[in-house]
């Protein structure tokens, strides 16, 4: 039984009269801690301050984010935990369900209008379900499979209430305790009993991991024919079609998904990427337009979709000569200014944006602006305090090269090579652009040295490894991977004999010299860990 006087509820509803109606229903249920906000932003702020047991949100929140987007942001940025119950209030349930990404499904949907009895019934059931599944979900997240299996079996008495959820959990546990072939058989048996979209999708994913790509394609196609609203099926099908080298079909698949569920930025971006590869500029333009539009209020938006949109607008401009030109030019100008304002703190994005702007200005014959933007780009490059991605580096260098600014282009490439010398695909592309033969030669040289050093490290020959890492750093002083490896090797060397604390100080210096490592970088965790270890060991020597 839910103790309503002990729980905290947040209501996200922008229609004031309706909100008071719902609040009075909730009060009648016995709850005395009910907060009400009218916007997504206010909701996110409130959730940072208070831990709620239940969040009731209208799907429609006026301009700006919708309820689903709020939920995704709250979960993704861990502002709420998995323990928080989330119920979506909506005018049309199935339509709202289709907008939810697979990983972010609300606990329940409630269609308006609803009476107080239905609200209570639904809230009771959702909270109870949450309680019941908390232990097994916790065991799963901690990867305690024996415990998870035991807890799962205890829940089997509730099969008629939670069949789908139990099947899902069972499969997760199987995937981590049985062979993949056993999982395959399990799903095939499921499908013999009844063909459900969930079982088809899971079997498709298993075929994918077993690399039976044709079979996987077949299953997802079958699923989508029978259940065309299982949206994540399209994402998987497109992924598999790309592997099977069917980029045009993949594009068509994603277009079908978007027709039914247009708001997911990730999907629009995938479409944009595919369309670009397929040379379909119109679709690319439309996809990135949607990504920018839906990204306006989203915390998941990146500079990428803005830049790509300007590129496709530029391509479009090259082929039309009518009044539409002005419209497109204005659209591009707006996007460039959004890039500047939305990502003003990121020098990497400003560099990329300025170069894209220069390229665009060249297309519309605005030579003065070309020069102006390249100057901005050059300034941003000089004060670059973060790494630009490998593909972004190629994009920027190519544009600069084509615009005739080869010196800046080579500098950008040099910077990129220093970071990504070990990425074959990247180096291949650099080779095509650069006129600096030494650049490639150096890349190959430092790659060799680094590989040697890593090998020595694995053989526990830390002294030799360190010598090689130093050599490598001479050529590529800003490379983060080498620096981290060097730090790790130094720590290992210390651990071998434990009689030279100087090594620990050295490690700290190496780590503090690392520039441009943002907290979003996947290597950041490793960096923090090494720092922590060296400090811990230092403490121990002082004791």
């Amino acid at each position: 039984m839910v103790k309503y006087n002990k729980i905290k509820i947040l209501l996200i509803e922008d229609f004031a009269d309706y909100a008071s109606a719902v609040i009075s229903m909730i009060s009648a249920m016995g709850c005395n801690h009910i907060d009400h906000v009218i916007s997504a932003e206010a909701a996110i702020q409130k959730c940072r301050e208070v831990t709620y047991d239940l969040i009731l949100s209208d799907y429609n929140l006026g301009d700006g984010k919708d309820g689903q987007q709020v939920f995704e942001e709250l979960l993704h940025f861990k502002i709420i935990s998995d323990d928080t119950c989330f119920i979506m209030i909506t005018a049309e349930i199935n339509a709202s369900m289709v907008m939810a990404a697979l990983e972010f499904k609300p606990d329940s949907y409630l269609a308006k209008p609803f009476n107080r009895q239905l609200l209570k019934s639904r809230v009771d059931k959702s909270l109870m379900k949450k309680e019941k599944f908390k232990p097994v979900l916790r065991a799963i997240s901690r990867k305690k499979w024996q415990e998870a299996t035991k807890l799962y079996q205890e829940l089997l008495g509730n099969t008629s209430l939670y069949r789908q959820e139990l099947k899902r959990l069972q499969l997760i546990i199987f995937k981590n305790t049985k062979t993949i072939k056993e999982c395959q058989k399990h799903l095939e048996d499921e499908l013999d009993v009844r063909v459900t979209p969930w079982a088809l999708a899971e079997l498709g994913k298993i075929y994918h991991s077993l690399k039976y790509f044709d079979k996987a394609e077949g299953i997802f196609k079958k699923m989508l024919m029978e259940f065309p609203y299982t949206i994540d099926g399209y994402d998987w099908l497109a992924k598999i079609q790309i592997i099977l080298n069917k980029p045009i079909e993949a594009q068509q698949t994603i277009e079908k998904a978007i027709k039914r569920s247009p708001k997911l930025i990730k999907r629009q971006k995938s479409l944009g990427e595919l369309a670009e590869k397929n040379g379909d500029n119109l679709v690319m333009m439309q996809a990135y337009r949607q990504a920018v539009k839906h990204g306006k209020h989203s915390a998941f938006s990146h500079a990428d979709e803005y830049v790509k949109l300007t590129k496709s607008l530029g391509v479009r401009l090259k082929s039309i000569r009518s009044e539409d030109r002005d419209k497109l030019i204005n659209e591009a100008k707006t996007v460039f200014s959004q890039l500047q304002s939305k990502f003003s703190k990121s020098s990497g994005v400003q560099l990329r944006g300025a170069v894209a702007h220069a390229e665009f200005s060249a297309i519309i014959d605005d030579q003065p602006n070309v020069l102006k933007q390249v100057k901005i780009a050059s300034d941003e490059f000089d004060k670059l305090d973060e790494n630009i991605g490998a593909s972004e580096c190629i994009e920027i260098a190519t544009s600069l090269q084509q615009l005739g600014f080869s010196e800046l282009s080579e500098s950008v490439l040099e910077d990129g090579v220093e970071q990504y010398f070990d990425q074959k695909e990247f180096i291949k592309q650099v080779k095509k652009i650069t006129k600096n033969k030494n650049l490639i030669a150096n890349a190959q040289k430092v790659n060799k040295i680094n590989n040697r050093a890593v090998k020595l490290f694995r053989e526990k020959k830390y002294n030799h490894a360190l010598t090689e890492f130093s050599l490598a750093l001479d050529i590529a002083p800003n490379n983060i991977n080498i620096a981290l490896n060097r730090a790790q090797a130094t720590l290992k060397k210390y651990q071998q004999s434990k009689n030279d604390p100087d090594l620990l100080y050295k490690t700290e210096i190496i780590l503090s010299d690392i520039d441009r490592l943002s907290s979003n970088d996947i290597r950041y965790k490793r960096y923090l860990e090494l720092l922590r270890l060296s400090q811990l060991m230092l403490q121990n020597t002082n004791n």
Partner: protein, 231 residues
Amino acid sequence: MTTQPKNDYFSLVLASTVHDMKNSLAMLGQSLNHILDEHNLNDPSSKIQKDVGIVQYESNRVNNGLMQLLALYKLENEQLPFSPSYHNLFEFIEEQTIILAQLLEAKNINCEICVDESLDAFFDANLLAIVIENILGNAIRYSKSKIIISSKIEDHLVIQINDDGMGYPEKMIDLEGDYMLGINQSTGSTGLGLFFAKQIASMHQNKSKTGYIVLKNGGQLNGGLFEIHIP
């Protein structure tokens, strides 16, 4: 992808209008309850009970009609999401009676649920809910004092709604599925509800079996008997 077909504009307008109307209905319902509470009018012996019943019934009818129209429009345009999953039968049916709780009370009708609590079945709960709500609403209108909702699973799921009213007119039973022909402006029956129920039933398929509905007279209460069969 460059020009929007006319359909899309109507689709957008439809979606926002429905949203609006549902908000209005929600406010109507809430205000009615408020008025009843404030003036202690929830007493079944109260003079205006009949009117309360009418307001409840008609606003339910409007909401239900709205949902069916929207769903049928989407169905015609192949835009109706069909999302089946496993659901506990008792809870599903109980929920429909909870939704109509005020109406049942206002009309003083005893609604009994005869469903084994350990049964679950695979179907689209949101779409089926619209059907059950509609049929149940009709049953409430035509029944005298009692309704029985029962459900069983033999080789497929069957849900039955039986009332103790006068039953379905012969003409309607004879239509055997062509319910659109049953549109009769004078009786207020548009056949929409049954047509919709038939569509939703047939969306459910399993191993080449398709869902369907049956209208009869009789059952335990000797009135109208509606059956929906889901494979």
